[in-house]
Amino acid sequence: MADEVILLDFWPSMYGMRLRIALAEKGVKYENKEQDLRNKSPLLLQMNPIHKKVPVLVHNGKPVLESSIIVQYIDEVWKDKTPLLPSDPYERAQARFWVDFIDKKLYEAGRKIWTTTGEAQEEGKKEFIEVIKTLEGQMGDKPYFGGEAFGFVDLSLIPFYSWFHAFETFAKFSVAAECLNFSAWAKRCMEKESVAKSLPDEKKVLVFLTEYRKSLGIE
């Protein structure tokens, strides 16, 4: 029986990117339905009535919500190919911890950078670099967060990389200059086909965020 897999997505969404990568890693065929978040579709509201957010994975008509939950779902359903989470319980706990850390800290710090100016933006920039440095320290000498193989933490983090150019432009800094190992890891991830085809062009993201900032009256 053929699986029907639909992804309700929004092209700059870092959370949507996670799922594009995960589905590509698993070789799952799916239909991407681009959403207009300023004019939410009946399908989105039906599938995610509580949060009304993207991404949503609709598998055989049933919605799965929250990107890190969806990645685990994808890993558990399509379990015969390319494991995304480690098999050892302790390693799994570590992977979940770092994805939770990314969700709690990185998005907020980044948001401060692109939605504010002046002192608030400086603060966001400092927090952002601190988070990246913590993650960098965690990775150590390993090629990926999970070790030898690209996995849950890597795919949860790399989408933010497509927004770096915008952050660096708004707050005038360079992640590469501050975090060498992180940049090496990012380039390594970008060499993977599943990642390269799932992330939008960073210049397109800059244009999008610049326009969004204008519409919010920032700067």
């Binding site: 929250e66 969806i70 302790y90 799994r92 939770d100």
Partner: protein, 249 residues
């Protein structure tokens, strides 16, 4: 004579060490009022795992806590064979996956798991903060808005219970599972909030299914010894409020 004494002492020592090891293999850094710590305790109880509870004192963080959770510096932290695991829901997953031969905590079907995880995240990100929001609401209007919000989300949870339990006693079915633990841990603080705000949230009139579920949950063998008494928790809440207000100026 000297040698005989040494031999007896070393045998006793070995027995003591063995006893100590069995329990100290698993340590939980926590505090009795914390609902997040309770999640870990209930999960360990479900699996019949012996553990040592190391109580943190209010106002100070032990060296062990700072070493084990340098990122967040928060409880609970499960330390298993000297390896720390942090974040209550991650700890519950770990307990379920490591002690896999015991009764299951997470549902077995991936879709059911995703649903349970979704609601647990909802409780942590939306519901519990809104509950705490009642105490910190300034003025009558803000308080009413906070109360309404909690009431609405509880109605949602009541519906969710009906859908997920499918007539069985718990969110997890015949026995307590992930979502029972994720939500049930908040019952103590919910009762304290009802006392201090004067508003009833979880009862026969408003949430008939959850009211009955709560009784069953609190009576469960894995729960009853770790669920604090509402009175004791209310006293602690007063202490906490004083502590947060700081010394008198």
């Amino acid at each position: 004579m000297h040698e005989l004494c040494s031999h007896r002492h070393s045998t006793e020592n070995i027995t003591l060490i063995k006893k100590a090891m069995a329990k100290s293999d698993v340590k939980l850094l926590g505090a009795w009022p914390s609902p997040y710590v309770m999640r870990a305790r209930i999960a360990l109880n479900v699996k019949s795992v012996d553990y040592e509870l190391l109580e943190e004192t209010l106002g100070s963080k032990s060296d062990l806590l700072l070493k084990s959770n340098p990122v967040h510096k928060k409880i609970p932290v499960l330390i298993h064979n000297d390896k720390p695991i942090c974040e209550s829901l991650i700890i519950v997953h770990y307990i379920d996956e490591f002690w896999s031969s015991g009764p299951s905590i997470l549902p077995s079907d991936p879709y059911d798991r995703a649903i349970a995880r979704f609601w647990a995240a909802y409780l942590d990100e939306k519901w519990y903060p809104s509950l705490k929001g009642i105490a910190s609401a300034q003025g009558e209007e803000a308080k009413k808005a906070a109360v309404d919000q909690v009431g609405e989300s509880l109605a949602l949870i009541e519906d969710t219970y009906v859908k997920l339990s499918k007539g069985k006693p718990f969110f997890g079915g015949e026995k307590i599972g992930y979502l029972d633990i994720a939500f049930g841990c908040f019952l103590g603080w919910l009762r304290v909030t009802e006392k201090t705000s004067g508003v009833k949230f979880l009862n026969e009139a408003k949430t008939p299914h959850l009211a009955k579920w709560a009784v069953r949950f609190c009576a469960d063998p894995a729960v009853k010894d770790v669920m604090p008494e509402t009175e004791k928790l209310a006293e602690f809440a007063k202490l906490l409020a004083k502590f947060r207000a700081g010394p008198p100026k």
